[in-house]
Symmetry: C2
Subunit: 325 residues, 2 copies
Amino acid sequence: MAELRTVFVAGGAGFLGSHFADRLLATPAIERLTVYDNFSSGHRWHLAAHAGDPRLTIVEADILDEERLVAAVAGHQTVIHLASNPDIARAAVDPDVDFRQGTALTRNVAEAARKCGVELVLYASGSGVYGDRGDALLAEDAPSEPVSTYGASKLAGEALLAAYAHMFGIRARAFRFGNVVGPRQTHGVGYDFLRKLRADPRRLAVLGDGSQAKPYVHAGDVVDAVLLAAEREASPFAVYNVATDDLLPVREIAALAVDCLGLDPATVEVSFGDSPRGWPGDVPVVRLDSTRIRGLGWRPRHDSRQAMAAALAAMRDEAHTEGAR
Amino acid sequence: MAELRTVFVAGGAGFLGSHFADRLLATPAIERLTVYDNFSSGHRWHLAAHAGDPRLTIVEADILDEERLVAAVAGHQTVIHLASNPDIARAAVDPDVDFRQGTALTRNVAEAARKCGVELVLYASGSGVYGDRGDALLAEDAPSEPVSTYGASKLAGEALLAAYAHMFGIRARAFRFGNVVGPRQTHGVGYDFLRKLRADPRRLAVLGDGSQAKPYVHAGDVVDAVLLAAEREASPFAVYNVATDDLLPVREIAALAVDCLGLDPATVEVSFGDSPRGWPGDVPVVRLDSTRIRGLGWRPRHDSRQAMAAALAAMRDEAHTEGAR
């Protein structure tokens, strides 16, 4: 990882950011890691394991505060941009949220990178850029037609970083993740199911008809993919799908959640909605072709079921200690 | 044009907006046409021909003034969104200009359309969404990798309108124009060449090495295409390339400009730069496949050379009367 000596992580106190911190701070080459987060959905306990590491600096500030952001980015070679609106379904009633907490953030990150002479930007995009393509297996060059403002903000961010890469000599890499899950997760379908079952272990109401089927990729596998792509290829801009090849239906996630809490499935009434979409803008089926990143040597260590089961088990145990935080 | 009875044109005092006004106000079905423009690059003389038409309202205000915009959009079924940063080359020194005067404008237009129950949004996108694909003939489903912030802002606008179309039941159509030229143009390569030759008829300095070759489409042909697509198809979102099939090299535009002003080519020293790009983010060759819009029956009445020659002749004559305005 020649370039990864001084790393700035925008939105770095979120769940995925904490996995980057774990991996990067385990690397002797890392001289400096700055986590910049407004803690709207990030948490200090995500980074608690590294409290004594002098290489880690945590800046509590908003990416929309451009002056502060530029000052904080200065002196870093690499920016990992993970900041995003964590509540995808909220756009149905507040569609501008993905502009304010998505598109506008990436604009500020790109400007800060340009002004500070950053060499490499690694951007967490998402499968939402493709829109609803049925059960087609989607490679990176498939047409994009977002059906959610979340997907639109991710595509807008990719487009902006591509332009900055070509115009200003910043290398940029965008990663279209399947749904990332893992320890320290604080949102998402698995998190919601555990929360609901804790509140009432006798019933679980699923958003949508349960037929939604998506890939789930473990946060550790995502970190592998991003750091692998960071060190390869000199092209100004590249996009990579990062997903497992299998799909996990929402029904099975419900069963995994029931099992994870040690509940007897016969005593839990799981109910479903009528729509194949969990919320307006939800995409019922997502299949991503990750041939490109696999071509760099990436192999996920967990399939979707393993990733989800590991995430659920970790979230269950973390919740037990939540009062102590 | 069943739906085109009450039309709001964002950025409607620009050169292309004036061609929409001409066509729409010649249509008896039009009950109301509102032109909303901050006159940063639009002109009152663009709409002077319709000064007495009671159906036309001109609102001088900024699209970034969201409250004002929403109030003005209310009561219109259709929005034509033409507002954009007119100075593409400026981004090399001020890359944020295309965010402020592009991406952010489209966000406000989309929100206004949603809040006001607009049925149809017709959006002026551009070939810049594709990026630099060499001499490949590009259909609408070709991959997008913008190399300019201008192209990035156009793609961000398309993505946002696609999401709003799918989430909120607004029909939206995006048009990736080849370079639009015609009477009342106030920027672009032809405009620049006339201005330079008027300042010094003995020499013409061309940005780039003159090898750039692009399609040029007449504003009247563009209006035809947009209004045709407006009345066809019920799908939430669609994208159309709108361009002539031929390419006009910049060298030939220089010769057309010299000829248009009645200058002797032997007395004009035309000089070129070293780069195939006129400015950072310029794309040397653009070839758009307009099969989709042709499938709706569109046939441009001018090829690239005819469109450019007509535009140059009109701009020459308009400049003669500029003092009288």
